[in-house]
């Protein structure tokens, strides 16, 4: 196909589907094809493509490569740092992210605090979630549950299930 923009969009969707289906071998073949057209794309197309490549590497488990391709996608960058155990870098980061992505950002910061042993700061950070507009508690309850599980395990209290039940 001579239309590179369309080709790039197709590769993005295909790569995304392959990584979510965990068909990584086919994904690497597409990555090789992407390399061939990458230089000829516009800046916007390149940025968009980098996001999909980063997500592919993230799902594959190569967080270092995923991080390299996430330069212009703050949330992806944070998730990669989290997987690489760079908790301090996450805590010290300052990204302006909006909406549901902001929730995930705060979530990653509070988990990072938790994992370096700052449980009070962790909870304090997590509370900021309630100030985000358009976030309903029902939407985040699963992640909240995970957070509280880790939190109570961390401070050695196994009664977290009771606490969770009270919430719902």
């Amino acid at each position: 196909m001579i239309c590179l923009s369309l080709k790039a969009k197709f590769y993005n969707s295909y790569l995304n589907a392959l990584s979510l289906e965990e068909e990584f071998e086919k994904g690497f073949t597409i990555l090789r094809k992407i390399k061939r057209i990458y230089k000829k794309l516009t800046k916007k197309e390149k940025l968009n493509m980098e996001r999909f490549i980063s997500v592919f590497y993230y799902n594959y488990g190569n967080y270092k490569k995923a991080y390299d391709f996430s330069k212009n996608h703050p949330l992806l960058r944070i998730l990669c740092l989290y997987q690489m155990g760079e908790y301090l870098k996450i805590i010290n980061s300052d990204y302006n992210i909006l909406g549901f992505e902001k929730f995930l950002y705060i979530y990653a910061i509070s988990l990072s605090f938790l994992l370096i042993g700052e449980s009070v700061k962790s909870i304090e950070t997590f509370i900021k979630v309630y100030n985000i507009e358009d976030i309903k508690f029902e939407d985040i309850i699963e992640l909240y549950y995970v957070f509280m599980t880790i939190y109570y395990k961390f401070i050695g209290d196994d009664n977290y299930i009771g606490f969770f039940k009270k919430l719902i």
């Binding site: 001579i2 068909e23 000829k40």
Partner: protein, 203 residues
Amino acid sequence: MKKLYKKFLIYKAILKGMSPDIISQKFNISRNVIYKIKKEGFLRIKEKEKLVLDYFQKNPFSSVNEISRNLNFSKSFVYRTLRKYNIFNFKQPNKKILKILEFLIRKNDFENLKNFINYYNIDLDSEILNFENVPFEIKYIELSQKLNSGVDISYELENYLSELKEKELNFIYLKALVIKFDVLILKKQYKEIIEIFENLKKN
């Protein structure tokens, strides 16, 4: 695109009722050009170019060589035309393009609007256009906007895709197929995307 924008400004000046003399001085062009724009509008696609673009619309997988062979045009002409109309890389909307779009929407000039978007291959992925009664050829933009605002477009999109196939608007079909991929991702039907892609590869 620079030339096109200049033509657009001239067209606007004509509509405002400026005299050809003043327009000619202001834009440093001959009166002939002004009369031509007045008669044909600012979006004129040459017949020869239209043949190439329409052939590509029907056969989006064809190469420059194939097009030149089948239409009996030189390779360089085909290449220049495809490049001029942003077939290789879609045009990202800049301020000038948005001004033209805004003008056409305000004037309800849907004929030129669809020609401008489709022939010049403007990539309107993240732009929000407020229009009603969208022409068939650019309905994929409306569907994409609906999807981004959380509306389920599956049924409408399927009908649209099959109509595009029927009318042999294959290049637009491929553009609309990208939206279908987004729908399938949202529905977590990843296997279907892989199937579609692999079928396309076979064809």
